[in-house]
């Protein structure tokens, strides 16, 4: 476990020493702050729209950070050849994959905490309203969703040769699932046989990332989600994350690396 944590530590260090991620982080935080503290039309209800925009921005930024970070981890190790001195140490390829995953996922978690903290402070100062448990549930579910995304992108990085191709394909798949995932069963119902079976199979096969998008709960002050449902969603994400990591390991464990 110590080796995995050490590997994760290097990923996090790299992330906060890279300017592009830093810029994205600061930009999102700034926009959240500015939008959140501006007064539009003196309408008290406008805050909800602002919160919705801020949450959308947080989702987009978090996905960009997760995909951008995870997509280059293993390809960059191979391209910069840092993988050779690393694998010459008593570390398994499985530990490398888990370490990379943990680093990216923790980095996403830290970023999310900062984003939600900004949002909570801005909204709280405007509305004097502090739904802390709502924020916690939204943050937790988004973090679980990012776990699946990071694992999926890591797996993709071992399939596609170029990190840019992997990142583009992964973003298309993620956005596709987020926007269309919930409608696939309805689409399948309207299809003739055997196309309906194919669409149904896709519906049951893909990780339903859209379940983790609970922005409406925060925007419209809906009641808290049942904690059992949160637990179920956590297990569902853990299963998909583990599956993608297992696939990545199967792909990476026998891959010849020529120093």
């Amino acid at each position: 476990m110590n080796k995995v944590v050490a590997l994760a530590g290097v990923v996090i260090k790299e992330l906060y020493r890279r300017k592009d991620v830093y810029v994205l982080f600061v930009l999102t935080a700034l926009i959240t702050l500015v939008i959140g503290s501006a007064k539009f039309f003196n309408d008290p209800k406008i805050v909800r729209y602002l919160v919705e925009i801020c949450l959308l921005l947080i989702w987009v930024s978090a996905i960009v950070i997760a995909v951008g970070t995870a997509a280059r981890q293993i390809p960059a190790e191979c391209e910069n050849r840092t993988i050779f001195p690393l694998l010459a140490k008593p570390v398994t390829r499985g530990q490398v994959i888990v370490g990379k995953f943990l680093g990216c996922w923790l980095a996403c978690g830290i970023t999310l905490v900062a984003f939600y903290l900004f949002l909570a402070i801005v909204r709280g100062s405007r509305e004097q309203y502090w739904p802390l448990l709502h924020y916690f549930q939204a943050l937790w579910l988004q973090w679980m969703c990012l776990g699946v995304i990071v694992a999926m992108v890591l797996f993709g990085s071992l399939i596609f040769s170029a990190p840019s191709a992997n990142a583009t394909i992964c973003v298309i798949v993620i956005v596709g699932i987020l926007l269309l995932g919930r409608h696939l069963n309805v689409v399948a119902f309207r299809q003739p046989k055997p196309l309906d079976l194919i669409v149904y199979s896709i519906y049951f096969f893909i990780p339903h990332l859209e379940w983790y998008d609970v922005r409406d709960m925060l925007v419209h002050d809906q009641p808290l989600i049942n904690w059992l449902a949160i637990l179920g969603a956590t297990i569902y994400a853990a299963v998909y994350t583990a599956t993608f990591l297992l696939l990545a390991w199967l792909r990476f464990r026998r891959k010849p690396l020529n120093a």
Partner: protein
């Protein structure tokens, strides 16, 4: 005494994407044993299979047939690499880290306790003369300094066996001398060194035994002094003769 490094009937083939093409055979049943405390020079022309052998020993490439063992443990097991140090030909390190952070990271990979790691890092930075720049990112180092980072990381676990892949390649004469001094010092400490090199003069000076690899086969192995006595010439000429190169003029 069991050898520290043992290679048995090692065969490595690389298949191209096209199934019609025959696989490229990099190693053809290599057998080799290196005893504890030896400095073994592994020499051969480009494409002879030296780096492929090192890649197998380090687990980067899986052999098509045969086995390799480090300290009696099959190289497929990561634990086989617990007591070795590896210095690649070129410097491949996380350039956003400082040398101290890099060494601490590798120390954690080896499971070295923090206090011991601190002591070891101080010693190594003194040895490779990087103490003054320990808090500067590696990307700001010169090539020679980066090569010294490589040496420090290879020694972080106080290895019993050091595998060096062309350690002096691209270094200036002072850098070469330093590497040679460090190898000699390791020999005096009773460490085993396995290194591949094109610098035959260096091999002749430093090594106890040499193995000459050509087209994936070990053509000659023996003590440097014995080979020189047998052929009545220097190592460079012995090498050229064995690989069948005709010297003109």
């Amino acid at each position: 005494m069991d050898p520290i490094l043992r290679i048995e009937n090692l065969r490595v083939e690389f298949r191209s994407g096209n199934l019609r093409h025959n696989p490229k055979v990099a190693l053809k049943g290599l057998n080799l044993a290196v005893q504890a405390g030896e400095i073994f020079g592994f020499i051969g022309p480009n494409g002879a299979g030296k780096t492929t052998t090192i890649n197998v020993l380090l687990g980067f490439v899986n052999p098509t047939a045969g086995n390799a063992y480090l300290f009696g443990v099959n190289v497929r097991e990561p634990i086989a690499r617990q007591r070795i140090g590896y210095l690649p030909e070129l410097t491949y390190y996380y350039k956003f880290l400082t040398v101290e952070e890099l060494l601490r990271f590798y120390a954690r990979i080896f499971g070295i306790p923090r206090r011991e790691a601190d002591k070891r890092i101080d010693q190594l930075l003194r040895l490779v003369e990087l103490e003054a720049v320990r808090n500067r990112p590696i990307k700001t180092y010169s090539k020679g300094m980066q090569q010294r980072v490589g040496l420090a990381q290879a020694l972080i676990n106080n290895p019993e066996l050091l595998i060096l892949d062309e350690p002096t390649s691209g270094l200036d004469p002072i850098g070469r001398m330093k590497v040679r001094e460090i190898i000699q010092r390791l020999k005096n400490e009773g460490k085993t060194v396995f290194f591949s090199s094109h610098e035959l003069g260096e091999v002749e000076t430093v090594c106890d035994r040499v193995g000459i690899l050509h087209e994936g086969e070990l053509c000659m192995i023996g003590r440097v002094s014995d080979l020189k006595a047998q052929f009545q010439t220097d190592l460079e000429r012995i090498f050229l003769k064995i690989i069948g190169y005709q010297v003109h003029g």
